[in-house]
């Protein structure tokens, strides 16, 4: 797999990011809504609002605002948050680790649970096992994440008391090292499972149909004819080919995952960037919003790159170049 390919893909990020920034900038500014309340608070006098608009350059024409903004972004400056009064980049960076941890864990959990379940279901389609697993997947797919989250909080955290209700660490905790890792894991388990639930639903169905498809192919028939046991047929011959589309979909769902993360972060009080995205959207905190869009764009591009690389690694037919 060539280094040139990776470099070229990374360079593609630049025009993509520029396009995304332009479109989001225009969308935010053309959509109704006025950031001045977030900026200046309520019941001020007109002169005050005018002054604050001027201070933040909101009284200038849209092209002028865009030009200033673009120039700043090139220099690595995302501007000042209207709401928080500090550098937008600081506000965003502070929230990124929590979101990466949450979405990364959810994705891993989803793959670990979904692929075996999908394979089991696909091995004997329409059998009792398949019906059960497919029903579960459909159920998870239809349940809204915020509802699953609230039910999980009520049942697992409040009634059973085996997980904390909210947060990423214990309140006021200064633990470091291993105790801190355990503390975070304890808080992470429930939100990560809830976030994983929708992905599980999608991946189970995908793996299942892939396996069903593979099980009727010639190479599988040949393997069976050689007298290889059903289990080995599934694991060695059907599944490796069946998961190829799963890998593709995982990359494509990175964006979807970040949307789910926003909801899970709110329900569980998880201090991530998704929550920041929603509150910034409500307040029209443009510098933070645009910065977040940029980060999400990078993440999606990166996820797709990783997908391509993974694809090349597991499918010998794919050669990157």
């Amino acid at each position: 797999m060539s280094r040139r390919f990776v470099l070229r893909r990374l360079l593609q990020v630049i025009p993509t990011a520029a396009g995304i920034l332009l479109v989001s900038f225009l969308l935010i500014h053309l959509a109704p809504g006025d950031p001045v309340v977030a900026l200046a608070g309520d019941h001020g006098d007109p002169a005050y609002y005018a002054e604050m608009r001027h201070r933040f350059g909101l009284d200038r024409s849209l092209p002028a605002q865009l030009a200033t903004y673009a120039l700043r972004v090139v220099q690595g400056d995302l501007g000042f948050s209207y709401v928080q009064g500090r550098r937008a980049a600081d506000v965003i960076i502070e929230r990124m680790p929590a979101t990466l941890l949450l979405t990364g864990t959810a994705l891993v959990i989803a793959v670990i649970i979904a692929v075996p379940l999908g394979a089991l279901a696909g091995q004997r389609p329409h059998g009792a096992r398949d019906t059960g697993i497919s029903a579960l997947a459909l159920g998870l797919y239809s349940a809204p994440v915020f509802w699953v989250g609230q039910v999980a909080i009520l049942v697992v955290a409040l009634w059973l008391g085996v997980a904390p209700v909210q947060g990423m660490t214990n309140a006021g905790s200064d633990a470091a090292g291993l105790p801190r890792a355990f503390d975070v894991l304890r808080h992470l388990a429930l939100p990560a499972l809830v976030l994983a639930s929708q992905e599980i639903a999608v991946l189970v169905r995908l793996t299942r149909s892939g396996v069903i498809d593979e099980m009727t192919r010639d190479h599988v028939r040949a393997a069976r004819a050689k007298g290889i046991g059903e289990r080995m047929v599934l694991l060695r011959h059907a599944l490796p080919r069946a998961v190829l589309p799963v890998v593709t979909v995982i990359g494509a769902r990175a964006g979807h995952l970040s949307a789910g993360a926003a909801i899970v972060e709110i329900v569980f009080g998880w201090p991530g960037a998704g929550r920041l995205l929603l509150s910034s959207l409500q307040a029209r905190d443009t510098p933070v919003l645009l910065g977040l869009f940029l980060v999400i764009a990078f993440a999606v591009i990166l996820a797709n790159l990783v997908t391509d690389l993974a694809y090349a690694a597991i499918d010998p037919r794919v050669r990157l170049g």
């Binding site: 200046a40 001020g44 006098d45 997980a163 990423m168 905790s173 304890r186």
Partner: protein, 539 residues
């Protein structure tokens, strides 16, 4: 080869997840520091209450600061940073004598120069409410010596003593702010105040930590410290309280209140105070620029069609009372009783709407006949703009007005869009306004009624109401020092306004605080935890 790789990875990942599962089950005692855990709904971003009226900032920062005065639950001023004061020139000059020996949390002495600086350079520039209400009347704020501050006004200014508490006028340390841009000062994130608690740490999106100020000039806090957890979902906050993860909530959603009332480990406090604005009245405003609402008979007809008690019961879940005057009953000297507010009377409503030219047609919805500015045959369909959190006001209004032959279209708009649609472009028929009266009619009532405040500005005179007599009564009430006299002006004003009915005053809302029985001594005021005590946490 690939398979071995995958298997090895699989094993590592499975290990990590197993770890998570095990530790989740292990659960167990939390290593909480001693003190109280409270929940806040929003991440304030910074902790400087002098540069904003944002409720989230005030919730998180008020404990760190003081005003010259503090207000008790009945909104009577009492000494805080100022020990005593004199009012001269019939209310055009106020002299405050500051408490001596007060120190900032960093050890620097607090002096009159801090007060002068905070008003001139920060509050009158950036605190929207204080700037708008006090600014136009104020001539100067001057430190006469280290412990005396003088406020001079262009004409007598009556409400000053109600506007000097920690929410309306928190005092900042001059030595950290002088010569800087107050909006971007590092002390906004690492604040230094004089208040009962000191700032300890702020982790964005997670929590804010405070430690007790043992040198506080008032009664020193009994708690070692406070951790304020940022929990954005109100339902999660309630569960966190039930599970003992937090001890104090600033606001319990109406539907959850019944559940907490039954919980023996939880106590509820109902209050009209709120860091973002106190003594609020939820109000329906008519856009008087619209031809349909220019006839007072239509406005009074609609008011008669509204059952305010039902709003109290179903929308506010009993937390509040039906509003019966433009000024809240909580500001006792100014609130008028026995006003001719239209009572719920569907027959009278029908008569008034009929006489204004809106007649019942087949299908139940009224149509215009001879209404000035409205084409004959136009059905009476009105928009009602609300914030998403107030959508249930819209649902009930639609039900009530349908009975009177008016079709209401509820438009839920998020805050940024609402303020633009309603206040800037005035593109609405009727809209909801949670007008917080504050501690004096000058702060929160004047702005919705005087003609000089018809402006493209959030929470201005939404109706676009003009009445010279009302303007002049507000003017006279603001400059009269005698409380009885002020009350008479406000009463006269309210009589006119209720007749003109530019708004329908629906509910004087209360908010519900909640705390676990582990702790006691909380107050509804901004310094909510200054006098709280907690039993040690069961392990």
């Amino acid at each position: 080869m690939i398979a071995t790789h995958a298997r090895r990875h699989l094993r590592t990942v499975l290990g990590a997840v197993g770890l998570a599962a095990i530790s989740a089950c292990a659960g167990g005692a939390a290593d909480r520091s001693d003190g109280v855990l409270v929940a806040a709904i929003s991440d304030p971003g910074h902790l400087n209450p002098a540069i904003t009226t944002n409720g989230g900032v005030h919730t998180a920062a008020s404990l760190l600061y003081d005003g010259l005065l503090s207000l008790d639950d009945a909104m009577q001023p009492s000494p805080a940073l100022a020990e005593r004061w004199e009012v001269e020139d019939g209310g055009a000059r106020y002299r405050f004598h500051l408490r001596r020996g007060v120190r900032w949390h960093d050890g620097q002495p607090f002096t009159a120069a801090d007060v002068e600086f905070t008003f001139n350079e920060v509050l009158l520039e950036f605190h929207a409410r204080t700037r708008a209400s006090m600014g136009p009347a104020l001539e100067s704020v001057k430190a006469l010596d280290d412990s005396t501050v003088e406020f001079r006004f262009r004409r007598p200014y009556a409400p000053l003593l109600q506007q000097l508490d920690v929410d309306e006028a928190p005092i900042l340390p001059r030595h950290l702010f002088v010569g800087s841009d107050p909006l971007r000062n590092p002390a906004n994130i690492a604040p230094v105040g004089t208040g009962p608690y000191r700032f300890a740490a702020y982790q964005g999106g997670r929590e804010i930590r405070y430690s007790a100020n043992r040198d506080y000039f008032g009664k020193a806090p009994a708690l070692d410290g406070i951790v304020m957890r940022i929990i954005p979902d109100p339902a999660t906050q309630v569960v966190a309280l039930e599970s003992g993860e937090v001890d104090w909530l600033f606001s319990v959603p109406g539907p959850e209140r019944a559940r907490l009332e039954k919980n023996p480990g939880v106590r509820l406090i109902q209050t009209a105070l709120s860091p973002g604005g106190s003594n609020c009245i939820t109000t329906l405003g008519f856009n008087l620029d619209r031809p349909s609402f220019q006839d007072v008979r239509v406005r009074r007809g609609i008011a008669h069609a509204i059952d305010r008690d039902q709003f109290v019961e179903r929308v506010a879940f009993g937390a509040g009372r039906a509003a019966d005057a433009p000024i809240t009953s909580r500001i006792a000297f100014a609130h008028a009783t026995g006003l001719p507010v239209p009572a719920w009377d569907t027959v009278r409503a029908g008569q008034l709407l009929d006489s204004a030219g809106w007649r019942r047609a087949t299908g139940g919805v009224r149509v215009a006949k001879g209404v000035a500015g409205v084409a004959d045959g136009t059905p009476f369909i009105i928009g009602f703009s609300v914030l998403p959190s107030q959508a249930n006001y819209g649902d009930l209004l639609r039900a009530q007005l349908r009975a009177a032959g008016i079709d209401v279209r509820v438009e839920a708009l998020e805050q940024a869009v609402f303020s633009q649609t309603v206040f800037t472009s005035r593109n609405f028929d009727t809209a909801i306004g949670a007008y917080c009266n504050g501690t004096d009619p000058e702060i929160g009532v004047r702005r919705m009624l005087v003609s000089s405040n018809i402006a493209p500005v959030p929470f201005s005179n939404m109706a676009g109401y003009r009445n010279a007599a009302v303007d002049s009564l507000f003017e006279r009430a603001a400059t009269a020092l005698d409380v009885g006299e002020r009350g008479r002006f406000y009463r006269a004003m309210q009589e006119i306004v209720v007749r003109d009915q530019p708004y329908v005053w629906l509910v004087e809302t209360l908010s519900t605080r909640a705390h676990t029985t582990r702790c006691r001594g909380f107050a509804a005021s901004s310094h909510f935890a200054a006098t709280a005590t907690c039993a040690s946490r069961r392990r």
